[in-house]
């Protein structure tokens, strides 16, 4: 699906389940997310991570509501616990349906987000591995001067900021010298379109969600 449409849909679903309390809806969302992830052949580890990371908050909130809230509602405890998992799996659904590059390109072309923002983000993503190796060098160099820097050490932060400022300057110069002007019109080698079925899927999803949320059967 087109990343912009998918992002809007995921966002809409996320907001709507925040304001309703239907366990079923959360379970359906988790199931659909898992199916989509299976379709995109997400690695096994990603499911494990999606199950484990929200475990503590989910269990925590379940116990808080079940035993320590004024109403002590079992139903609401399950709503909150499944809701946390629904958020996590919606994130998984989006992550495995697209890539950073595709999402940013779609935001530029379909959502008309300013190009400065789009390419700034892209540049920042491409800098992540460099920042990692720089931090490694800073720590090694400090060790050679007898100092052990931890990730909370102000000196590590200071040196990283110096490096990051330097990079951002270089990146801006590199982009300018390759013809980039902030928010000037550009052509696109790959034009990203929104296929008609994207709208169909979106409408069906939203209608389906309303049906579950507001059906008398719940």
């Amino acid at each position: 699906m087109n990343p912009t449409i998918l992002l809007c849909l995921v966002f809409f679903v996320g907001v709507e389940i925040s304001f309703t309390s239907v366990i079923w809806a959360n379970v359906v969302i988790i199931t659909i997310s898992v199916l989509v992830m299976l379709w995109h052949r997400a690695p096994l580890l990603s499911y494990v991570r999606l199950l484990l990371v929200p475990l503590i908050p989910a269990v925590g909130i379940w116990f808080s509501i079940r035993y320590f809230s004024t109403a002590q509602s079992v139903h609401f405890a399950w709503v909150m616990a499944t809701r946390i998992y629904a958020y996590a799996f919606l994130g998984g659904l989006f992550t495995f349906s697209t890539t950073t590059e595709k999402t940013l390109a779609s935001l530029e072309q379909n959502a008309h987000i300013p190009t400065t923002f789009v390419y700034g983000m892209l540049g920042a993503f491409n800098f992540v591995p460099k920042i990692r190796s720089e931090v490694k060098i800073i720590r090694a160099s400090a060790q050679m001067r007898g100092i052990d820097l931890h990730f909370w050490s102000p000196q590590l932060l200071f040196k990283s900021i110096v490096a990051a400022l330097n990079w951002s300057e270089n990146l801006a110069e590199a982009m300018t010298s390759h013809g980039f002007t902030e928010n000037a019109p550009r052509t696109h080698r790959t034009v990203i379109r929104i296929p008609w079925w994207n709208y169909v899927v979106t409408v069906i999803s939203i209608v389906g969600l309303q049906a579950i949320l507001f059906s008398p059967l719940k």
Partner: protein, 473 residues
């Protein structure tokens, strides 16, 4: 006809600092290959960045006008300007915004608003001309310095810029890539009538290629065009200054080793050292040489646990990959090629105080430090911010800071870069003293070989993926 004109140009990084370029008038002719030379740190990069319009947009204050095709550069929007003047930077890894060469070229052409149906042909032509086709879809992080500079050339070709500026483009690349790039640049001038300005302090191979030589005079903050006589003198002087090797001893087999390599293999983006087996002796001053990009710094990274390797690499009989980093750093330390990597505080005095606080022995007293600072011409700079020192001053301070630490084994990566001969001698004397009097081990990478043989014990050379001791330095 002149292509580029500088008219009374003055440039300051900060209005409070002395100008880098002062009242400069200069013209570069259309369709010529120009070489700009002068000592490092004088302002060659600054001049190029002014012509390409990055300064004063990104930094500094400028007066006067610079025109290309009689049009002021600053008036052109970036997408138009990039098609008139393009630039290749010194540090190849810092000039790309995208993840792969092909995407960088597409990004560039999109910025120029090239229609989508013409894009692929233009991308492929540029990739072919610059010899990038084979690695067009690999990530930049996996490309060597030479490969990255080829990509940079591909971008310039895709831009089809009339003027091409190159700022020390060969500083981090191997000799083959340098030769290839020089050949392609010559083609661009001869066949496509481009105007090229290369800033380089290394004059080798240029004499038959260039049309004009320009010299940056750091004292007067001005560039002038050398006439035929002066150019000839310059090239001859450069040839003469080329190092004349002197004999040096080979290490005896019975020396106790500090480092032992056994079937040691390391690669960083490309295969570098292959299946090397030898000893590096303890308590000696060993110089490591080799062409750019052959893997000298990567060997140092492996020696300080910043780089993985295969085979065996031992320090005093222990495998380096298995040593605890914190403990090991008290025995073996690296003087980084980028001086700024070594600094942890803000001012010169703070840096020295920090080294004094953590020094391993009391060999360096405040008096000895003061005397050494004086001999390195660094006195009276206590309150200066270390990042604002010149590159040469940073290097000198950096070496001193690591000497004060008094670590038994010191690895130095190009500590003599950008130093004048007097400072270089002072540094070499300090290192020799550390070896002879304090029984330290010193292993030093350098390109600057003048008089080094007077101080060093052995010469280790890296060539063709192999390390070997040489009888001359």
């Amino acid at each position: 006809m002149s292509k580029i004109n500088l008219n009374d140009v003055t440039f300051h990084y900060e209005t409070t600092l002395p100008p880098v370029i002062e009242h400069q008038n200069l013209a570069f002719d259309d369709g010529t290959f120009n070489l700009l030379t002068g000592p490092s740190g004088t302002g060659k990069s600054t001049l190029l960045k002014l012509i390409v319009g990055l300064y004063p947009a990104f930094m500094g204050e400028a007066t006067g006008t610079i025109t290309v095709n009689d049009q002021p550069v600053v008036d052109l929007p970036a997408s138009k300007r990039a098609q008139v003047v393009a630039m290749m930077f010194q540090n190849p890894s810092q000039q790309f915004a995208m993840e792969t060469p092909r995407n960088e070229l597409i990004f560039t052409l999109e910025n120029l608003q090239v229609p989508a149906d013409l894009m692929d042909a233009r991308v492929n032509d540029a990739l072919t001309f610059a010899g990038v086709t084979d690695f067009a879809d690999r990530k930049f992080t996996s490309l060597s310095g030479g490969e990255q500079q080829k990509v940079s050339l591909a971008v310039i070709v895709a831009l089809n810029a009339e003027v091409i500026l190159l700022d020390e483009p060969f500083a981090n690349i191997d000799p083959d890539a340098r030769l290839f790039l020089l050949t392609q640049l010559t083609t661009l001038v001869k066949k496509y009538h481009k105007t090229i300005i290369v800033a380089d302090h290394d004059l080798s191979d240029y004499e038959p290629l260039i049309d004009q030589l320009y010299i940056f005079d750091g004292e007067r903050h001005q560039v002038h065009q050398a006439d035929a006589g002066e150019a000839q003198t310059r090239f001859a002087a450069f040839e003469q200054r080329q190092h004349q090797p002197a004999p040096i001893a080979l290490p005896a087999a019975e020396l106790s080793p500090e480092f032992t390599l056994d079937s040691f293999t390391v690669s960083h983006q490309t295969p570098l050292i292959h299946d090397a087996s030898l000893n590096i002796p303890q308590g000696k001053f060993v110089v490591l040489t080799g062409a750019n990009g052959t893997g000298k710094s990567t060997l140092f990274d492996a020696l300080v646990k910043l780089q993985t390797y295969t085979g065996s690499l031992q320090w005093q009989g222990q495998e380096i990959s298995k040593l605890r980093a914190r403990k090991y750093a008290q025995h073996v330390a690296l003087v980084f090629q980028q001086a700024a990597s070594q600094f942890l505080t803000i001012t010169v005095a703070e840096e020295i105080a920090l080294s004094l606080k953590y020094q391993q022995t009391a060999a360096w007293t405040q008096n000895r430090i003061n005397a050494t600072l004086a001999s390195l011409d660094l006195s009276g700079r206590d309150d200066q911010v270390v990042y604002s020192l010149s590159e040469g001053q940073k290097k000198k301070l950096q070496v001193l800071l690591m000497l004060i630490m008094d670590v038994p084994t010191l690895l130095l990566d190009e500590p003599l870069t950008g130093l004048d001969l007097v400072s270089a001698h002072t540094i070499l004397k300090l290192l020799r003293h550390a070896v002879t009097e304090e029984h330290h081990t010193v292993l030093m990478i350098t390109h600057q070989l003048t008089d080094v043989s007077q101080y060093a014990d052995y010469h280790l050379h890296l060539n063709n993926h192999q390390l070997s001791y040489e009888a001359r330095l």
